[in-house]
């Protein structure tokens, strides 16, 4: 299948998703009130934006279906195989940080995350991994917490 067809399909799916989203926005905004006794209500602007978004989504789907989509690019739209594994590996680490930052604190979470990232990306030199992860976690914490006075989570579990 031609690559342009992949992109066209992706644009159509995205256009349809935005169309559904715009319907939801308009329906939700109408609940807040389009007009009230003072004039435009809290839902007024949202309804207008939702309608514009709906029109644009529809225009996109129609254009891609009947007139033509974006120009062809090499490769498929989203990665597969090894490329996709690399993205998912990094994404998994990022999501892990979201859940671990509060209980483990910034220093421990970042120390673990940086080791995970460097190893996942193929770094094998133990000294580089140790220096980068220690500097990136404890060093960054010191700079932001003590020098720039920016509060970062200390952690419930270790409490330091």
């Amino acid at each position: 299948m031609a690559t342009g067809a992949h992109m066209n399909k992706a644009w159509k799916v995205a256009g349809a998703a935005f169309l559904a989203f715009s319907v939801f926005v308009v329906a939700e905004a109408l609940r807040y009130g389009f007009l009230d006794e003072y004039g435009p209500g809290p839902g007024f602007f949202a309804v207008l934006v939702g309608i514009l978004m709906g029109i644009m989504s529809l225009a996109l789907v129609i254009k891609v279906t009947f007139i033509g989509g974006p120009e062809e690019k090499s490769g498929s739209v989203f990665p597969r195989g090894e490329e996709a594994s690399r993205v998912l590996l990094v994404l998994g680490g990022i999501i892990g940080v979201v859940f671990l930052l509060q209980p483990l604190g910034f220093r421990v979470t970042m120390f673990v995350f940086l080791i995970y990232m460097l190893v996942s990306l193929g770094v094998r030199n133990v000294w580089i991994i140790a220096t980068m992860s220690l500097g990136g976690s404890f060093g960054t914490y010191h700079v932001f917490y003590h020098w720039l006075k920016m509060p970062l989570p200390i952690g419930y579990l270790l409490g330091f």
Binding site: F18, E28, G39, P40, V87, L91, V98, L148
Partner: protein, 504 residues
């Protein structure tokens, strides 16, 4: 005279040791961002916002602006040395800069680029000084209808930049406006689109959204590729010869003029002045066949135009609150985080900051010249940093930035969510700058629209019955029409005459 006095006051602010220090740090970081291929200036500026959180607003903003114009020069280094532009506006520099490097004249190319950037940036700053005050005074006369029309101009400027991606850009703008609507209604105070989630009552903060859209998504996109080889380079003398000076001086003068005036025009990206300058240099050259083979004018003109543009593009941002590029949209968000609203009131309420910032452009230009001439070898060595380390560092900054604004892990989740969305939008080749601009200007647009309609009793003609808002809305239509038709126009201009059967 008034502007000169105000500027002298600003210079005193800019020359305070702590401000010079942070402008210096900003120039270093900006040049670094520009040097690294794969991290654009918008993403680079976004991930460095957290550094300014602990600072006073004046040095914080000076540092961010220094990052912005530092990145403009940094992109040049990779264009010349390795034929990889650090950012879009440095593409043209590759045409003759890299051939010069191949001939052993890399130092000369970098030297003339640094000098041209300095001259262009400095002269454009004088222009900023002259134009900023009258424009800010005019903007002070704006009421809600004019403000609404002005915001619409801002939206169309960013959307118009996208050219063929007009519909996706408008969709992204609407998406950003919806995000801006989350939280309390600015007029009545009612919660909207919060769905009883307490963290959403204050809406989406700008920083986690930017960290996700520009920082995390950039890493996800780059990580797809296998690890890239590091780049090693060699440098020669930085000082151009007498003949080269002679050839480059005219190009620098023309580049300054072009870059400055194009920075004032809404909807022109930093790429256009560089291309126009290149075309002009080729057109006025006695031997145009030298271009593409290492002509020094092909480096001096576009580089000068680029820096003159980047200084004068600050005028619409500072005086009207309208960012003309994605990087400036990020900088505007950083202004707001630091409690400063760019626009005409900035000159009235915070003249120290407004004029200090304009004066700091001079300081920044001197710092950049010092940084870029003797230290260019050091910058070239930055290209040798393995990308695995770089990506880890970018993510680390994204986490710090997303968390720090409200000390909230919810915001961290928001950054990840927008990182994934940004990754998808990048894969679809949809522009993301309209989301950021709409998120920043959305509340202002809504308030101005509703107040205008309350003033007129619901009559939309208020926007066309007032001359300034009518002109502004008319300009928006022209920008949109221009963006929609530019592809057809280009095709029409370059079309081949049909071959008649007889001729065949």
């Amino acid at each position: 005279m008034e502007a000169m006095n105000l500027w002298l006051g600003g210079l005193q602010v800019a020359l305070r040791p702590e401000n010079v220090f942070f402008a210096f740090i900003g120039c270093v970081l900006g040049t670094w961002i520009g040097v690294l291929p794969g991290i654009g200036p918008a993403a680079g500026t976004a991930i460095l916002i957290p550094i300014t959180f602990g600072l006073d607003p004046v040095p914080a903003i000076m540092m961010l602006c220094a990052i912005y114009y530092g990145s403009q020069y940094g992109g040049t280094i990779t264009s010349i040395l390795v034929n990889v532009p650090g950012e879009a506006s440095s593409v043209v520099t590759c045409f003759d800069g890299h051939p010069m490097a191949m001939q052993g004249r890399a130092g000369t190319a970098l030297g003339i680029a640094a000098i041209g950037s300095f001259v262009g940036g400095t002269i454009a700053t004088i222009g900023v000084m002259i134009v900023a005050l009258p424009l800010a005074k005019l903007a002070l006369k704006f009421g809600p209808p004019e403000i609404f029309a002005l915001v619409i101009v801002g939206f169309t400027m960013i959307v118009g930049l996208t050219g063929k991606r007009l519909i996706p850009a408008l969709l992204m703008m609407c998406f950003g406006l919806i995000l801006a609507l989350v939280g309390q209604d600015p007029v009545r105070g009612e919660p909207r689109f919060a769905f009883d989630v307490v963290d959403l009552y204050d809406g989406f903060d700008f920083v986690p959204v930017v960290m996700g859209l520009f920082g995390i998504s950039e890493v996800l996109l780059n990580i797809e590729q296998p690890v890239r080889e590091v780049i090693k380079t060699k440098l020669s003398s930085l000082i151009p010869s007498k003949e080269e000076w002679k050839a480059a001086s005219g190009a620098i003068a023309r580049g300054t003029t072009l870059g400055f005036f194009m920075g004032l025009v809404p909807g022109i990206s930093s790429v256009i002045p560089t291309f126009v300058s290149y075309v002009v240099e080729k057109a006025v050259a006695k031997n145009p066949e030298r271009f593409g083979r290492g002509a020094i004018e092909g480096v001096a003109g576009p580089e000068t135009a680029n820096n003159a543009y980047s200084q004068s593009a600050m005028i619409p941002l500072l005086t009207l609150g309208l960012p003309g590029s994605p990087t400036l949209a990020v900088i505007m968000g950083a202004f707001l985080i630091n409690g400063i609203t760019p626009g005409p009131l900035l000159f009235r309420d915070r003249p120290d900051l407004a004029w200090g910032l304009i004066a700091s452009f001079y300081v920044g230009n001197v710092i950049l010249l010092i940084l870029n001439l003797p230290l260019v070898g050091l910058w070239a060595r930055l290209l040798e940093i393995p990308y695995q380390y770089l990506y880890s560092g970018v993510l680390l900054f994204c986490f710090v930035g997303a968390y720090s604004v409200r000390q909230s892990t919810f915001d961290l989740g928001v950054a990840v969510l927008f990182g994934v969305l940004g990754y998808i939008f990048r894969k679809l080749d949809w522009p993301m700058a309209p989301i950021i601009l709409a998120l920043i200007l959305g509340p202002m647009a809504e308030k101005a629209l509703r107040t205008s309609l309350e003033m007129s009793g619901g009559d939309f003609s208020i926007f066309i019955s007032r001359p300034i808002s009518a002109v502004l809305l008319g300009s928006s239509l022209l920008i949109l029409a221009g963006a929609a038709l530019q592809d057809h126009l280009r095709r029409w201009l370059t079309r081949q005459p049909p071959t008649s059967p007889k001729a065949a």
